[in-house]
Amino acid sequence: MVEASKRERFETPGTLVILGIYLAMFIVMWFVAFLYLATRWVIS
């Protein structure tokens, strides 16, 4: 029973990896946007 429930919990590993990559890129790009703003502010 325990093994069966473990298998069910991980029946979508590829989807979790894809969404993990998406969220990681999302957060990185969000911070990059702030860095970009800060750079523009310093230059100006």
């Binding site: 989807t15 990896v17 998406y22 969220l23 969000w30 970009y36």
Partner: protein, 521 residues
């Protein structure tokens, strides 16, 4: 999908007063009234997309400094027509088609009232025609937002209002059709997932259209000279109750199309239905307050309200979309693993990438996801300060509404229309090519628009040369954006051709394999 046997119901004799048939693909009972009205709304939607797309290509080619296709008057008329046709008419006609389909065919039920359904459709068509004709005549070049003190011809506002009343009647008919199915004993237990999602979209549409009526009635009176003025700040708040909420009607309908394609192309659904239903409810909770993110630079709201309503809740609104992304991809992966797919991404090799439904699902999810990045940056107050009213805004809008919603609608239409008219999709390979071409065009256009936005290129403006004072770096991204708009225009025209050809000359068939081609490799 397995073909279900026709199941006699205790009410069969009573309901047999209207002609019906059994769908050979889904096993569902299709009443002629619901079928005809769904097709009529879908055809109107495709025509609206054709008109809105033509305006859009003209705008893209005008904003490209290398082309500058239109003069200023024609540009602002086209900008208004593009917003109205592509952002209001196309999605709402398609969503009404989805409402009729989800409240009748999916429930094996009849419509509450065929007369009410056709009255709603007629009002929507009349309102749409009034609005479009006056825009083309040049008497309503106020953009689709129509902010006072800009003033259009009265016919523009009356057309908008007649269309809105028609759409509200369609929502009433949708709600009463579900109630009737329940009362007749045809519907027992929970609503099917797609009907549940469409019901959430209908609730948002009701709020959205109601808010639009509050905004547009005084604007009409102002246009007629019966009111001396309309407070622009009050108008904007009510208008975005329409404009913002309507975009989440589109998003919810897009997600419904994702599940529809998942069911018809891959024969499966989400791993956990409760999870997806909670995600639909979250849209209802977060959508309305987030209209605040349209006012991040307005002097009318405090910074606290902007941060909570515009920024923090704006982030929260991304959560249900992520949940649906997980549910759709996870549903496909789990189903394909049961069929023998192995490895982390082996399941991706088991889908037929040459199937237009699969292509639409992938392109829609990918471009919508990119639009999520863009939108989150824009809803962040400090970032909005520099991106507001730049090309970042149309980039985000086209990523979520065009790349996301429109592509999902196109992919679902490639299954829905053949099922309803019982004809094989005309030009199956062309349909797949059309989806990918549209996706490439939208990707190129929106990335170039984002680039232009970071350089400060303004949106909604006919001329960006500023008598030679504008930075020279503005031209290249705007020319690339024009190229992307052209590619999407060609692909959009191809969609219309495929739909019309399917309706008129598609091969008549009841073979499930021809009506709903499998997306499994």
């Amino acid at each position: 999908m397995a073909v279900a046997e026709p199941v006699p119901t205790p009410l069969a004799d009573y309901r047999a007063t209207e002609a019906s048939r059994w769908c050979t693909v889904t096993g569902l009972r299709v009443y002629s009234g619901a079928q005809t009205l769904t097709i009529a709304n879908a055809v109107a939607a495709v025509l609206a997309l054709a008109i809105g797309g033509a305006f859009g290509v003209a705008i893209g080619l005008t904003r490209a400094p290398g082309m500058e296709l239109l003069g200023s008057s024609a540009f602002y008329a086209s900008l208004t027509g593009h917003g109205v046709a592509a952002l209001i008419l196309w999605p709402i006609f398609f969503e009404v088609a989805a409402m009729v389909f989800a409240s009748t065919i999916l429930l094996n039920a009849r419509m509450f009232s065929n007369t009410l359904g056709w009255l709603a459709f007629a009002l929507m068509v009349v309102g749409a025609l009034m609005t479009l004709v006056i825009i083309v005549s040049g008497d309503a070049s106020v953009a689709f937002t129509a902010y006072p003190p800009l003033k259009a011809s009265q016919i523009f506002y009356i057309g908008y209002l007649v269309f809105a009343v028609g759409a509200l009647l369609a929502i009433v008919n949708f709600t009463l059709s579900i109630a009737k199915a329940r009362a007749e004993g045809v519907l027992e237990g929970s609503l099917p997932l797609i009907t549940y999602g469409v019901a959430c979209a209908a609730i948002l549409a009701f709020l959205s259209i109601g808010s639009g009526l509050v905004a547009l009635l005084p604007a009409w009176f102002y246009s007629a000279g019966w009111l001396g003025g309309v407070d622009p700040i009050v108008y904007r708040a009510w208008f975005w109750g329409l404009g913002h909420t309507l975009q989440y009607v589109n998003v919810v309908a897009m997600v419904v199309c994702w599940y529809g394609i998942l069911a018809l192309a891959l024969g499966t659904g989400p791993v956990n239905q409760k999870f997806t239903r909670v995600a639909f409810i979250l849209y209802l909770v977060f959508t309305v307050p987030v209209l605040g993110h349209h006012f991040l630079v307005d002097p009318s709201l405090s910074t606290g309200v902007k941060i909570v309503g515009g920024t923090m809740l704006g982030f929260a609104l991304g959560v249900p979309s992520l949940m649906h992304g997980l549910a759709v991809m996870g549903g496909a992966e789990a189903h394909l693993r049961k069929q023998g797919a192995t490895g982390l991404f082996g399941w991706l090799k088991r889908v037929k990438w040459g199937n237009p439904g699969i292509a639409a699902l992938a392109v829609s999810m990918l471009i919508f996801a990119i639009g999520g990045w863009n939108g989150t940056a824009e809803t962040t107050l400090p970032l909005n300060m520099v991106s507001h009213n730049t090309m970042w805004v149309p980039a985000h809008l086209h990523q979520v509404v065009t790349g996301g919603t429109t592509v999902a609608f196109m992919g679902f239409a490639y299954y829905l229309i053949p099922l309803l008219v019982r004809r094989r999709l005309w030009g199956f390979k062309w349909a797949t090519f059309q989806i990918y071409l549209y996706g490439v065009g939208m990707f190129v256009m929106t990335m170039a628009q984002s680039w232009a936005g970071t350089l400060g290129v303004p949106r909604r403006t006919w001329e960006i040369g500023y008598s030679g004072q504008a930075p020279s770096g503005w031209d290249l991204p705007m020319n690339i954006a024009g190229f992307g708009a052209g590619l999407s225009g060609v692909a959009g025209a191809l969609f219309v051709v495929i739909m019309v050809a399917t309706l008129l000359i598609g091969k008549r068939t009841d073979d499930p394999a021809e009506l709903a081609p499998s997306g499994l490799a």
